[in-house]
Symmetry: C5
């Protein structure tokens, strides 16, 4: 809940000034450049955007990753160097954009949400990743500095593993999106574990805590769903785009990512069905236990009320001088007869409950 | 509820006569003119529509804002001056129109609903805003006089902040729609706060009041949804229109508003899911508390009924002259034995409840 | 329920013979003619279809309204005079048609359902209206004689109010459809009133009667929805038709009706959401009251069972000759001590309930 | 349930051999031929398919109806005589096909499900009808021999009623489909009656039997829906087909059938809503009765527990020799005072219940 | 649940290296070749992919089935021999692909899920089948070695039954897909049996076990649905493809498979409706039994509480020396009168319960 709320809180500001919204930690901007082709690769930490200029004219693929969005200078010089539309810069700065792809002259603008599962907080954390894909270059923006899900890709570039060094910037874009979608699967795996745990709890002894756990999972699923659907649209838009920036050979890979988003959605829907089933089980087990409790109460009351009544009768103080007033009290076997009567009542009740299958 | 009902109540009247429906406070009509280009701007309060005429021929952008709709004269002269279709005037007067865009010769007609959250009444208030966008002019109509959500825009024009003074009437239209959608976010923020509050109440001690609060939030969400969906269609229609009144450079901005409406809808749907989950928690917590109550009752009854039965036995008045009639009463340790028996019964019950995990 | 059932009951008959289905009161057919243009108008009650012939060749608009469908003669002569397809005549006679528009050579066939709210019976009543729109003429058929929702239109023709006398038969068609949709709003208003009333009942003291009232409203909404959706399709079909019978200037008006049908649908959906919420409140208030009842029972039992047990003990008849047998009975302060003990038990229970927040 | 299951059980077999699946009664195949044009008609029971050959070349319409599918010979000779695709023959033999239309060279293949309500078994019975519509001929296949819903059509042909003798084989196809859809209405009528009956039961005294009745109706509706949706698609496909076998004049009639299928679907949906409402009423009436039962219990317990406690006090055996031990017992008005006290307690309880509106 | 989770667990790995994911048993790869035309057929177990080469140039249809995916060598040589895209090989290796069809130069890639019901484990087992359909050849890949659902097809090839030997590789593809869909029906049949069993249990005596059985069926239906929907899309894509690899005559057969997938979906939806109904019955039967239990309790309490109170009165020890103190005790008929009074109270209660229809 708090997450949704926080998100809204920062969603909008009067347009105009360039300043990052939503980013709370004001550390420095960190610009990393990867420049590679099949034979060579350069990995560099550059101080300013201007330092990236030499890579522009080379035939190699250049990946500029910008961590931290709080320096307006960096973005402005970038905007000039690459002739970016000011709306793109604004979208990059607004860290609560809905995932989407937009086509501009000379570049594509893509924004997606990178999800990671925080084990300590038992929460899904999200961070916006914006990408600007041009001819032979890709610029990525991340709001927060600490880590991302792209180390796998960096390793592949460094060690020339897989196809990445042989392909263009579009393949790099695919690789990043694929890494993002892969993390959705990891989160679903976590939720899967939680569902198994809650299911066991449900079978053993459900408490209101169980219900809260079920609702938390449901909440996470809603959150995931809210992220994955626009991502699916985004990838679909990349596939359908006629931009020359996406080569035909790369499109096959984007179709692969698309299949993965569909698979994620399928799994989320199946999980939702499971969670709904768990809710039904919880509610009916509460009802069932009530029945069990009431059976105990009813059996006790049904057995002891008549018996207490009987002993009450013989506790009455009628004057036994009159032969009509409780002559039983003076019979020599009176007590034994009453005890016997009570045993019969008790046995009758037991047979009644057995027939009703109450125990 | 009352809002929906009121809305219906005024929704229709026999067509023909020009008179404002739905507006209850009969104050004067207030006409404000903003005329601006990059270098200059004029802000003027004009007494009549005719006074706006001089602005027509200027190359600058003219924004005529009309507060209050109860003067047929104003609208009729406006209709003549700008050659408006009489259906447009009727729609402007009917303050319960569904948000829509319609294209006419020489102008676009747009009607939207401006929502604000009234903290005092804890209610969402709505007001219809109609716009007529022509070449280099925009006429806006508001039913009520007191305030709107456009002061931000006015300030930007006055202080030449952002791009507004450099752009045309279409950009002004975008700015107004954007301001309206921004207020949807503010309302969602309020609802988010309320949801957090109710969630805390649910955890602490839910009462029927909690249920009413949940239903109120649900009601607000239904209301918002009813407003935002046609707004989304409207913006989509503006983007798809081939009218020359919407320049290509402005269309990018309308796409931005469109993204925001989609984001609003996503958040509303996520909130609805949350609210449904809260309802489940409420209902199951009521059931759960019933179980707790019944456990207390059953434990008390199960412990004391057998005990009361036992003491009842020894309250019977059988004549102990017969050696078969309650000889226990005359045993020197009879009382102690009975007390001991009752302690054993009590202990047995306690073990039974422990095993059932009732406490 | 009965309405749906009745409807089905008459829905079908072997095709072939011309005879009205569904109409129960066999009164006479009543044919009214309105013939008007901007300057003049004629209102006439004609005895036969043939009497309408002179109006055919005039340049004015002719509106022939036929009340009552039980005369095959009338329809046959009409069919001949206006060259109508026999399927159209069959559809006119079958008073349970789904609202639709069909295009034929030289005329459009439109059938809609006119709904009115019967205050006495607290029921929605429906009547089929079929229209045949040709060049400069409109023929309308109504199954029942007593009244319709078109008097407003007749008055406008008579008094030359609004645009109606200046426009063609297509505008007349629009006016009639508009009058029909307006009555949907009136019914929704009634339902809105009922919803407010039931909501108050829900807050005060819900009974099974309240549930029935909720279900009745739900039923009415289902009924309305079943009528308005095909009506929306019908109007949409009229707008999209390329028939020359619908002039371009009239199409703007049909778009207006279309907007109203959409608005009706929106309101019905919002009402349905409200009614669903009311059902939840009802069900949970029943559960809540059960909790309250059980609390009372549990408190009474929990207080008095231990107390009754205590007084039971001292009602036992052990022989106090033995000093171990209930020596308390012979203590001078025994009674006072027991009373004190019971006060302590009572106070302890009260503190327990207070802590559980039961009162 | 059993029906769905049975259906599945026979749904598939290894393709290849011609043999009827699903047909259980192995009676003889019965071939009936109707050959008619406007002036004349022939009705004949022929022994073999070959006997139909003479009708092929005549200009009249030929309707060959084949009852019983268990003779491979018949179908093979038919397949040869009319050059049918072997897949068509396989589909005809598989009596559990989904309703559909398929276009082949020279003929259309249509398969639909004929539903009838069996009053004795209170069940819906279904039978597959396959049709092969060629130029001037229609072949229909029915799995079971005993009766169908087409006697109305046969009578019309025999007595030259309606248009059927004047029209082609396409009109005959329409007539048969129309007769099938008409029977859906009859079944809905039956279900409507059942709904009315169950509603009355619900108001009077709902039992678990009522719930079973509700579920049975729901089940029937699911079954109907599963049949009518593909039928709707089928008719829609017939309307949209560009096959010359469906003349333009016949298409108007198929549109009529289409309208009827839509109307059936509307009614089914409305019934489903009603049934859902009935379920809500059932469940809440069970809860409500529980409340009523608990009120009785609570009132009895709340009245008699305190009273029993009071009389218990004065049943204690304290030694009244001590003036502090129960002096009341020796007061001359003690008994009267205690009775009075109990009346006051009783009256107090009654006022309490009245205030809570428990009776 | 575990299944969904396991599936996720293996869904993704860093792309690049060829190695099978998800396959746990590392047995040898088994390559089987069927080469057939109308006259002849060869069935051979070949050791390497290269051994298949001679079949390539023959005019006959070649079916290469590869069981077990853990040999990278096999796949690499295959990839070379048939010029397969490396993404196809990766998809084949990833045994958790969503069913889909993809068109490549010279071949179609199809992946589907083969479901079988494991009676021992009461679980649905799934295995991925990938197919590569080229001109005159079909290569199929199966992850696990033990058995598949294609033995029917192999028998038909061996014995030249049906059309299979006369048709091309596209017909073979159809036959395999058809065999897969046929197994869906078998699973649905199993589920149908289980539903019948659970329904009987519901009527007899529902326990929490019944609820678990209902949820298990629901879970299986969700699982089936997740498999059949993409299969439907796959078959639809095959029908719509314009690839020359699917001949026109084969397309008719794929339409047949398509119809079967639709029929499967219809049945799944109908089963889901049934299962939802069963859940309602379960929940309401739990409520109903609670009512029955509470009735017993209330009747017992309502009868014995007043009676116990009465006998309590006459157990009081008031000093009967005072004539006002319980004179009844000394009446000669006192006891009989009290017994009579209690009989009257008892009878009154019985009449009260009868009227309330409690027994």
């Amino acid at each position: 809940m708090t997450k949704l709320f926080t998100k809204l809180h920062m969603a909008h500001k009067p347009a105009g000034a360039l300043s990052c919204e939503g980013s709370q930690n004001h550390k420095e901007v960190k610009i990393t450049v990867f420049d590679y082709h099949e034979k060579e690769f350069i990995e560099e930490l550059v101080p300013t955007v201007e330092a990236c200029a030499p890579f522009r004219d080379k035939a190699s693929v250049t990946w500029i990753n910008i961590d931290g969005l709080h320096s307006a200078d960096v973005l402005e010089s970038l905007s000039k160097a690459y002739q970016l539309h000011h709306l793109v810069i604004e979208d990059v700065l607004n860290v609560n954009e809905r995932p989407k792809m937009e086509s501009f002259d000379g570049y594509l603008y893509i924004t997606a949400r990178m999800l990671t599962y925080n084990n300590a907080k038992e929460a899904i954390e999200e961070e916006q990743v914006s990408m600007i894909l041009g001819e032979r270059f890709l610029i990525t923006f991340q709001a927060e500095k600490e880590g991302d899900v792209f180390d796998v890709i960096r390793d592949r570039i460094r060690n020339n593993r897989g196809r990445i060094r042989k392909m263009g910037a579009d393949y790099l874009t695919y690789s990043l999106l694929d890494a993002i979608v892969d993390h959705y699967f990891l989160i679903l795996e976590k939720l899967g574990e939680k569902i198994v745990a809650v299911e066991e709890e449900l079978t053993a002894s459900p408490t209101p805590e169980t219900l809260k756990a079920i609702n938390k999972i449901k909440h996470h699923l809603v959150f995931l769903r809210k992220s994955i659907w626009p991502l699916r649209e985004l990838v679909s838009a990349v596939i359908k785009t006629e931009s020359p920036l996406i080569s035909e050979s790369a499109q096959v890979y984007f179709k692969d990512v698309y299949d993965h988003t569909i698979q994620t959605i399928d799994t989320i829907e199946a999980f939702r069905d499971t969670v709904t089933g768990m809710l039904d089980i919880y509610l009916s087990s509460v009802s069932y236990r009530l029945n069990e409790i009431m059976k105990v109460l009813t059996m006790i009351a049904t057995i002891f009320m008549p018996l207490t009544f009987i002993v009450g009768i013989y506790g009455m103080n009628f004057n036994t001088a009159s032969p009509l007033n409780m002559p039983e009290l003076n019979w020599p076997f009176g007590y034994v007869l009453v005890l016997g009567m009570m045993v019969i009542v008790f046995a009758g009740m037991m047979i009644f409950f057995r027939r009703k299958k109450w125990f």
